[in-house]
């Protein structure tokens, strides 16, 4: 039953990849994946919070009384989220403008709280770090994939480092629906379906 460190890390990349396997944290998934770049930015911010909070929850798990554990988790998570928000404003301002309100909303992202409660509170520091890193990178990959599909179909471009690269010929009218909010639901549904098809074989 006991998994190795490597297994704890890699389970986040496929077996339990959020949001496809672990259908949690859908709010940022749907809202920010208009472009690949936004998806990656959001993923990296979430990974930072996830690794930080997993580390501290795991470190302090012997001292935190279980009756107030949720309050303690929230303090730790909120601290990291505010740190990310300030650092993003100071160093990557254009990205902060695009992600806007969804950065502070990482506080209530179910993935972060879920990993604290379900994993870090019961496991050692090294395992918790591996788990946070794995789930975080999986989340980043998923957001990037979703962002790539939506941007490619919706705008015909892929954006990296502020520069949109035209992929589809400009003569093709882009399917603007995909970069609007309802397109996110449709796209996520189709990708979940695809994942289940692949997984069921």
């Amino acid at each position: 039953m006991a998994k190795t460190l490597v297994q704890e890390f890699t389970k986040g990349l496929w077996e339990e990849i959020p949001p496809f396997r672990l259908v949690l944290g859908l709010c940022p998934v749907l809202a920010v994946t208009k472009t690949v770049e936004n998806g990656i930015g959001m993923g990296v911010a979430t990974t930072f919070v996830l690794v930080g909070s997993n580390f501290f929850v795991s470190l302090l798990r012997k001292f935190i009384p279980s009756k107030v554990r949720i309050a303690c988790f929230i303090i730790i998570i909120a601290t990291f989220v505010t740190l990310v928000e300030l650092l993003m404003q100071a160093f990557t301002y254009p990205l902060f403008l695009k992600l806007g309100i969804f950065i502070p909303l990482i506080v209530v992202n179910c993935i972060v709280l879920g990993r604290s409660e379900a994993f870090a509170f019961k496991n050692g520091i090294a395992r918790s770090l591996a788990d946070g890193l794995g789930i975080g990178i999986g989340f980043t990959l998923a957001l990037a994939a979703l962002g790539a599909v939506r941007e490619l179909l919706g705008a015909g471009t892929l954006t990296f480092w502020e520069t949109p690269i035209q992929i589809l010929s400009p003569t093709i009218q882009p399917f603007t629906f995909m970069i609007e909010a309802p397109g996110a639901f449709v796209c996520l549904g189709l990708m979940l379906c695809l994942m289940n098809l692949v997984g069921s074989k």
């Binding site: 303090i75 505010t82 300030l86 100071a90 254009p94």
Partner: protein, 189 residues
């Protein structure tokens, strides 16, 4: 009882440490954030409007309070004379407020440019007000004392009207504040 005290102590220590850490980070990042906001939000519009100015308008700025709100004015020096200012206006758009940056030549009260800074208009429709300058360019050369209506962008009536209203409101503020602006400009020679 022991458990109760334990809970209180743990929560208090956690809260205090996190508060201290955040206050320190805030202090450290504050000046950086203000500079970033000016460069990325208003900077591009200011630079386009006051193109050819021999100074850096983001550095040469002053504030005047109007009806309880502080407005920033960015100074443009042309031919050795501080003759133009850029300042902000606000219009009501389809998705909320539209931030405008207006440039005015104080010598003859003509508009030298209008640009959109912040907005939440529909991508591809109202958002064109920012990406395609042909709409806001219609204000160029207009007298501040006589703002006329301009041709709307097709499909984006609400956005067009909002910007028009924003420019009209900004011209009113400008006319009220002109003596104060002239006074402040004497410092920039």
């Amino acid at each position: 009882m022991r458990e109760m005290i334990n809970m209180i102590v743990v929560l208090t220590i956690l809260g205090a440490v996190s508060g201290g850490l955040l206050a320190a980070t805030k202090d450290w990042t504050d000046p950086k954030i203000e500079y970033q906001q000016l460069t990325f939000v208003k900077g591009p519009a200011i630079k386009t409007i006051l193109e050819g100015a021999s100074n850096d308008p983001i550095v040469d700025r002053f504030k005047i309070s109007h009806e309880g709100v502080d407005s920033s004015f960015f100074v443009g020096i042309f031919n050795g004379e501080a003759s133009s200012v850029a300042f902000e206006g606000l219009g009501k758009g389809y998705g909320g407020d539209i931030g405008l940056m207006m440039g005015v030549n104080l010598l003859d009260d003509t508009i030298i440019g209008v640009g959109v800074t912040t907005h939440s208009e529909t991508p591809g429709i109202g958002a064109k007000a920012k990406s395609d300058p042909s709409f806001t360019n219609q204000f160029k050369g207009m007298k501040m004392t006589a703002i006329a209506n301009v041709d709307a962008m097709s499909g984006a009536t609400v956005t067009s009207n909002g910007i028009n209203g924003g420019v009209a409101a900004a011209s009113k503020m400008y006319q009220n504040l002109k003596p104060q602006i002239m006074e402040q400009l004497k410092a920039f020679k």
